[in-house]
Symmetry: C7
Subunit: 95 residues, 7 copies
């Protein structure tokens, strides 16, 4: 089974605290303004500007990204949690 995001939606597998501390980034989960880390699983085709042009997402499958924790919708596939985030809620790529 495959989930194909539409528009500029991005399917993300959230990374657990354990994984995150390996990468050196610690994101305390107390404050509301702290973004979360995740892995991009699939990206939508992009967002239409009012001019008719399409802005393709700035991320691709496999990227580790920082995104706003409170924006995305949550789904479960085979008991595993995924998130569907709007492109504008993805802040940065971690390399």
């Amino acid at each position: 089974m495959k989930i194909k995001p539409l528009q500029d939606y991005i399917l993300i597998e959230p990374l657990e605290e354990e994984k995150k501390s390996k990468g050196g980034i610690v994101l305390p989960d107390t404050a509301e303004k702290e973004p979360q880390q995740g892995k991009v699983i699939a990206v939508g085709p992009g967002k239409h500007l009012s001019s008719g042009k399409i802005v393709e997402p700035g991320v691709k499958k496999g990227n580790i990204v920082l995104f706003r924790k409170y924006g995305p919708d949550e789904i479960k596939v085979d008991d595993k949690k995924y998130l569907i985030a709007k492109g504008e809620d993805i802040l940065a790529i971690i390399e």
Copy 2:
């Protein structure tokens, strides 16, 4: 009788919890941010951008989609429930 959506409205037959668990996706219906699964029955011609261009819906009849549960309007045809969702509330196609 036939319902033809206008603009970028999408007519959806919501999928029951039973059907959903077959596909492996379980969507707990407790939290407000969890999207719902459904089958696309009919799609509108698309949405006009301010430039005058039309954005055709990214889904078509027969697609199984994930959509935001609290956006769509609900109607009944011959005692069966359908939903009319805005294109922007459709998050992804499930294949």
Copy 3:
């Protein structure tokens, strides 16, 4: 006497519950999100996009339509109730 809608306003004669059940659609009038059925009596010339282009209404005189119940303004002509709805509140055509 004739009422000619402006912009993308649509003049609608709301259909009574009795008429609706004939067509097979039953719209319970309890929930706020349930759209209503009606017959298009007259349509405005269309809406100007910021580019200057005009979007003509997707419906025409005689169409049976589904529209959002709480958007339109209500008027009475010779004791009969009509509604004036914005184009964006018309969800679908019923054929």
Copy 4:
């Protein structure tokens, strides 16, 4: 003395209940969503779209119109009440 509306403002002489019942339209003045009838006295040159194009008003001097009751500003000239309405608050022309 003459009042010349700017932009897409429309100067309207509101019609009294007595005049309205002659035309066959009765507008009960209880509910907030009921539009009002009036006579167009003067119209502004039109509204600028962001593209720079001007949308001329869809009504002209002498038209009997239906407009939203709670939008317009009220002025008095020689003890007679007039209203200045935005173009978007004019719903229809009555012929």
Copy 5:
């Protein structure tokens, strides 16, 4: 000393009740939706539309105008009160 408005700001000298009643317009100062009369002292160069075009103000120095009472900012020059109004708050020219 001279005040030169920027953008589509308009410098207005408000007219007193005494002056207004001469012109035949009486503006009771009780209700919030009643516009006020004033004399245009200076006008800004105009407002930029998103297309880059400039919309010049529809009024000029010396015009007697009707404007929304609660929008403008108030300043004092040599103990005399003036108002700086946005172009969109000027409703009409009185001739």
Copy 6:
């Protein structure tokens, strides 16, 4: 040290009441809608319109301007107070 505003931000040195009364303008500091006087110290390159065009600020270094008191951000350099205002909060130039 030099502060170079970005976008359409304007760096302003607010003028004290003493200085203002010399110029003949007295701005009572009681009401919230009263703009304040200041001297332009530096201007940003301008604001991008959605068309991609840049609107350069209508003011330049040295101008005495009227601006909305409650919009700007406040900073201190060597114990002296400055303000950083958005272009749209600058109402007029005083000459």
Copy 7:
């Protein structure tokens, strides 16, 4: 490890009060409207205007900037605090 901002996001290392007072700027941290100083660590590719054009950030790596304190999201890398700010929250460059 490297954080690459997307869109017009800017990665900032906030400067401590101690460092700031060296530069002569003292920013009392009491009022909500006071911007903060920081050093630009990385900048995103820019923001898409609706016309499809990209506005590149007005700042670059190494710049010392003033930004609005309450806009940015906060992250920690190896126990050091960084901020990710929207381009519009960067007010000025300090040289």
